[in-house]
């Protein structure tokens, strides 16, 4: 019995270690994964190219770290400044824009800060700050968090009060918190539409061009990590920028609403 168990354990240990040649790992953001688009794209990618893409769902900050360490073969994120720094440092070979979606402001349906009538995203945030209504921030150094901070930087709000809650959590978890606190929050549209615990929250503000959210594909530099599957990342990039990808991305809807706009060059 003991001999049987140890053989079994050993076989599992060894067997699970190997990674097949047609598998690659890509770090993506929680907001991308929560949109559900991956569930449409991945089977098509496998069918067309034979590549099995394993997704690691993390924040942009961690995705970039995984790329730096060579623990993934490519990343798909949305934080321009961080991406440029990643390429400049040589961790990735290049940056390829794929598509964009947009951020929206969510808040209690009673809208105590009155942001539904705001003209710009900046004005909406200033309204929240002035009214002192509870606001939940991702606070996790993710692309969404960085975007939110850059928007605050354009407002006349100089310091956050106790109304500002940095959750340190992914998009879904942060939405759960906002739902529990009846608070305002900035979310990507896809995560919001797929979110199952909306409670008393509503989409209150959207459409300002500054809220557009560009996704880019960055293959990890094989010069730094020789195990990185450069051939697969190149194949994947070709597929992601193909007409078929464009049709799938533009045609993806939740509740009849389009989420992403394909814009690869």
């Amino acid at each position: 019995m003991i001999r049987f168990l140890s053989v079994w354990a050993f076989a599992l240990l060894v067997g699970s270690a190997a990674m097949a040649d047609s598998q690659m790992r890509m770090a993506v953001t929680t907001s991308f994964h929560n949109s559900g688009l991956a569930d449409v794209l991945l089977p098509e990618i496998q069918a067309d190219t034979g590549i099995e893409v394993q997704l690691l769902i993390v924040g942009t900050g961690q995705a970039l770290k995984l790329g730096e360490a060579g623990d993934v073969d490519a990343i798909l994120v949305h934080s321009r400044t961080a991406e440029d720094a990643f390429i400049a440092a040589g961790f990735g070979t290049h940056r390829r824009e794929i598509m964009y979606n947009d951020f929206v402001f969510i808040g209690p349906s009673s809208d105590p800060a009155g942001i539904a009538q705001a003209q710009t995203a900046t004005a909406a945030l200033e309204g929240i700050a002035q009214s002192g209504a509870t606001f939940v921030s991702r606070g996790d150094d993710s692309g969404t968090h960085k975007k939110e901070l850059s928007l605050w930087a354009q407002t006349d709000v100089s310091a956050f009060g106790p109304w500002y809650n940095a959750a340190g959590a992914g998009m879904g978890a942060a939405l759960n918190i906002a739902s529990g606190l009846d608070a305002y929050i900035m979310s990507d549209r896809a995560s919001w539409l797929n979110f199952g615990n909306k409670g008393n929250l509503d989409l209150l503000f959207a459409g300002d061009p500054v809220l557009f959210n560009q996704y880019a594909y960055l293959p990890v530099n094989p010069a730094l990590h020789d195990h990185v599957k450069a051939d697969l990342t190149a194949q994947l990039e070709t597929w992601l920028t193909s007409q078929k990808a464009a049709d799938l991305i533009n045609g993806y809807t939740i509740d009849g609403e389009g989420l992403f706009v394909f814009n690869a060059q």
């Binding site: 168990l5 140890s6 079994w8 354990a9 599992l12 240990l13 699970s16 270690a17 990674m19 790992r25 929680t30 929560n34 394993q54 997704l55 690691l56 769902i57 730096e68 360490a69 060579g70 623990d71 992914g170 998009m171 879904g172 978890a173 939405l175 759960n176 739902s179 797929n194 979110f195 199952g196 615990n197 909306k198 990590h225 195990h227």
Partner: protein
């Protein structure tokens, strides 16, 4: 939809079981002889070792996960093995988490049994390894309880395996990480359903093992 969900659920549940049972077998192979040695040998650092072991029982899984992550990362000392984000990495993390627990619980029962057996075995002039084997065999029911405690901790653990496994669909997604993911999407009903499966799994493994121990006992008496 229901059919695919069921197939996927079964897959995830089996993966949970496979990872934790493998970790359990390895952890027992380490912890039980260690506990027996601690019970029968008198050496200088014995008390210190026991104290450390007891302290390690409270090891935060997240920290274990982080350390294993750093070790297994491509940029880490063991990066060349390519083990990060594989079930093997999850097994390693779980082994580290449950070895101190199993060893501590096992040590307590083995120490009591050794107090009982000491005079007889010393008189019979048995070797160290014979002592260890006798204690492990005769305390096997108590050791089973220790192993079950380890299983319980392993199967319900999420912090470490989330970090080192990456929660990759079809590869390293297990019940606990799936629950965390679905909770993150606000899909509480699905998360709860997964939770019930996890509880049912833990209870059935306990029952099966207890039942096996029971039948063996009856055939004996």
């Amino acid at each position: 939809m229901v059919v695919t969900l069921d197939a996927e659920l079964l897959d995830i549940a089996l993966r949970s079981l496979r990872v934790t049972l493998t970790a359990l077998v390895i952890a027992c192979a380490i912890a039980l002889p260690l506990a027996a040695m601690l019970a029968v040998r008198r050496y200088r650092w014995r008390r210190a070792t026991i104290a450390v072991l007891n302290a390690l029982m409270g090891l935060p899984p997240v920290v274990v996960g982080l350390i294993v992550y750093i070790l297994l990362s491509r940029s880490g000392p063991l990066g060349a093995l390519g083990l990060l984000f594989t079930p093997t990495a999850m097994i390693i993390a779980q082994v580290i988490i449950i070895v101190p627990l199993i060893a501590s619980i096992a040590h307590q029962s083995l120490r009591d049994l050794w107090a009982e057996y000491h005079d007889l075995l010393i008189s019979m002039n048995v070797t160290q390894s014979q002592k260890v084997r006798t204690l492990l065999w005769d305390a096997r029911r108590a050791l089973l309880t220790a192993a079950l405690a380890g299983f319980g901790r392993g199967i319900g653990e999420v912090g470490a395996i989330m970090i080192v496994g990456g929660n990759i669909d079809n590869v390293t997604r297990v019940l606990t990480t799936a629950i965390a993911l679905e909770t993150g999407k606000g899909q509480f009903a699905l998360a709860l359903a997964l939770g019930f499966i996890l509880i049912a799994l833990a209870i059935s493994v306990n029952l099966i093992i207890h039942w096996m121990g029971q039948t063996e006992q009856e055939s004996r008496w």
